[in-house]
């Protein structure tokens, strides 16, 4: 559905997109995950033909994307990173205005606008001006403006920034619903939890490059980390730590604030080996937690830094 090949975009000396390639298929929720400044918005704006770029090819719906590709544009809905509505217009008017740029038939438009208002649950706020809406409601209005015309492809650029968790969940559920109704979704975020919860396929972006892409399972399979074990331990000495590190399957061991943080590889059995070791050396321990790797771990292992700093 979207095909991006070798996209190169410079802002002066800064390379914002470094030969970026993406392939987004019909019906999926595609996540573009990357830290601040990794080039997510730049990529989206290039895809939308808002930004010029230095090199590369962009096709949407099988056609080259240009500012004049009205047929394609008619089927795209866009939710910008920042709220983009008119302060002088009410909630209803804002949605109607944007919807009217796509849908000319008045009665059909009325129906679509009402549906969009129901969808984001702004029914009680139709006559409100954006200035009077809270942050979360404003985000919902921003989304409604982008989707009212029922596009086949919806691109959302960090739609949940600065939204409280409850509103955020509502938004994520809504996006999943849109996908179920048949829309292909491109979702950018720097929150890995959102992307993990929502997206069927993910590309991880860093410094304008795709450093990994695939389904969650594929991404997690790429790295050596298989499990992260945290054990409350009361005292342990350097020598014992060193011996722990040499156990089979253990990748790294840290002792922070009376907690042992052990990263182990994909093969099962590391936890038993660690617990055996603690028992035989009579090291007292309390609760034990085990976590599977997250996308943050994927990012950390590939780039050597945290997704969120």
């Amino acid at each position: 559905m979207i095909h991006v090949k070798n996209l190169l975009k410079r802002y002066g000396d800064l390379v914002a997109l470094d030969h970026l390639s993406l392939d987004i298929k019909e019906g999926e929720i595609f996540g573009l995950l990357g830290p601040n400044g990794s080039g997510k918005s730049t990529a989206i704006n290039c895809i939308l033909s808002l930004l010029s770029f230095d090199k590369g090819e962009i096709e949407i719906f099988g056609k080259k994307m240009t500012p004049d590709a009205y047929e394609s544009k008619r089927n795209i809905g866009i939710v910008m990173q920042n709220v983009a509505v008119f302060d002088e217009l009410t909630v209803y008017e804002n949605i109607d205005y944007f919807c009217g740029l796509y849908v000319h038939d008045k009665s059909e438009r009325k129906r679509l606008v009402e549906e969009a208002i129901d969808f984001v649950e702004l029914g009680n706020f139709k006559k409100f001006h954006p200035k009077k809406l809270s942050g979360g409601l404003l985000r919902r209005l921003n989304i409604a403006c982008g989707i009212a015309h029922r596009p086949k492809l919806i691109i959302l650029d960090e739609p949940t920034v600065a939204v409280d968790p409850q509103s955020r969940n509502k938004i994520l559920e809504g996006i999943a619903r849109l996908n179920k109704q048949g829309a292909t979704i491109v979702y950018t975020s720097h929150y890995m939890e959102e992307v993990e919860q929502l997206c069927s396929r993910i590309a991880i972006l860093d410094k304008g490059r795709v450093i990994a892409s695939g389904t969650q399972e594929e991404l997690k399979a790429m790295i050596t980390l298989g499990e992260k074990i945290t054990i409350e331990a009361f005292s342990i000495n350097e020598q014992e730590l060193q011996q722990l590190r040499e156990l089979p399957g253990v990748l790294s061991v840290q002792w922070i604030e009376k907690r042992l943080v052990i990263k182990s590889g994909k093969k099962a059995g590391s936890l038993e080996a660690v617990l055996d070791f603690l028992k035989t050396h009579e090291i007292g321990f309390g609760r034990i937690y085990s976590e599977l790797p997250t996308l943050n771990d994927v990012f950390l292992e590939i780039t050597g830094k945290q997704l969120r700093d």
Binding site: L51, A84, F86
Partner: protein, 380 residues
């Protein structure tokens, strides 16, 4: 689609209370303020008859008609002169020196005018003499045959004070009225209308606002959307200027001369000038809304000042010493167009101003087009 955008842009603009204040309420308030400040400076009331004297030549062939004419323009409430007759030139000179009179006429084969400084009154005396000279043969004849005819209209021209004021002010001296203040006011309102044009640009240039970026992703040509919006802006501004004009004309009784059609045409030109100017500045000055507004206010206020908004003579000082500046000042072009419609019978000077405005509009529109026709941006 065009109608849809026009309609919504109209709503967006008209609900911007700040802009409505600056482009409509503010000029009306300022006009009312001017009116109150100047109401006792009104031209009819502030014109005091000129103190003048005549020195007869002693030759009744010359004296009779001239003295008769002088007497007829020195009578009544709206008289041009307060006339004294001097026994001799020496006496008239004494009066002149003592400041009792502004000048004196010496009758004779050719009428002489003696003044010792220059000013509005002196200029009026001068043009009175000029007029008399051109018409003297006819006047002399009529005065001899039928002295009453002089009062009954023939001398109307010669004694119409306003025609002198007009003529004199046209030649660069200080006009004795306050109309110019109101003309600058309308011009200022038109240029404040540039805010509307600026807003249109900000809502269509994707590198200026996110709203505009969103419009740019819709299946509509950017220029089409921009033109629809600008027409909405123009409709609003033109209506505002017409309201202001109506208030000045019918509320404050400001005189715009007899050519209402041309006055409205000038208002339309001024509105287009304002919108296109705002669009151009907003397209050129990409950085921040504050800087744009500062630019627009600066040009409008500086232009208004140079056109005589705060100090009436400024307009003449500029047109005498830096004529180029008065042709490059859009506020002055508009002011002068209104002024020309009021003062001149022929349309030459009006046409010059209107032509310059059209030229400006073309430059602003072309410049705006060149900047906004790009549909992909290097950065957002």
């Amino acid at each position: 689609m065009f109608a849809h955008i026009f309609f919504y842009r109209f709503k967006c603009l008209i609900r911007d209370k700040q802009l409505v204040f600056w482009t409509l309420l503010f000029p009306i308030l300022l006009g009312t303020f001017f009116y109150m400040a100047f109401s006792n400076l009104n031209d009819e009331e502030s014109f005091h008859p000129i103190h003048a004297a005549v020195v007869p030549s002693g030759n009744s062939h010359y004296d009779a008609s001239f003295v008769e004419v002088l007497r007829s323009v020195s009578k009544g409430k709206n008289r041009l002169f307060t006339m004294k007759t001097a026994a001799s030139q020496a006496e008239a000179d004494r009066w002149l020196k003592a400041g009792k009179i502004d000048g004196y006429f010496s009758s004779g084969e050719t009428i002489q005018l003696t003044v010792n400084e220059s000013g509005l009154n002196q200029s009026i005396m001068k043009s009175f003499v000029d007029q008399y000279r051109t018409n003297s043969a006819a006047v002399a004849q009529i005065a001899k045959d039928n002295p009453n005819a002089l009062q009954n209209g023939l001398l109307q021209d010669l004694s119409d004070r306003r025609s002198y004021v007009k003529e004199v002010s046209g030649s660069g001296a200080e006009p004795n009225n306050v109309l110019n203040y109101f003309y600058v006011l309308i011009a200022m309102a038109c240029l404040y209308g540039s805010f509307w044009g600026s807003k249109e640009i900000m809502d269509i240039q994707a590198d200026q606002t996110e709203r505009a970026a969103r419009i740019n992703t819709a299946p509509i040509h950017k220029l089409k959307a921009f033109i629809a919006g600008s027409l909405a802006a123009l409709l609003i501004l033109f209506t505002e200027i017409l309201i202001l004009l109506a208030y000045l004309r019918f509320g404050l009784k400001i005189d715009f001369g007899p050519r209402a059609g041309f006055v409205v045409l000038t208002a339309l030109l001024g509105s287009i000038l304002g919108i296109s100017f705002g669009a151009f500045i907003s397209a050129v000055v990409k950085a921040g809304e504050g800087l744009k507004i500062a630019c627009l206010i600066f040009v409008t206020m500086a232009g208004s000042f140079l056109s005589g908004m705060m100090y009436q003579n400024m307009k003449y000082i500029v047109s005498q010493h830096v004529p180029l500046l008065s042709w490059l000042n859009p506020v002055n072009l508009l002011t002068d167009a209104f002024y020309a419609l009021y003062y001149y019978d022929n349309l030459y000077r009006f046409a010059l101003n209107a032509g310059m405005m059209v030229l400006f509009i073309i430059v602003f529109c072309a410049g705006t087009y060149l900047i906004i026709r790009r549909r992909k941006y290097a950065r957002l």
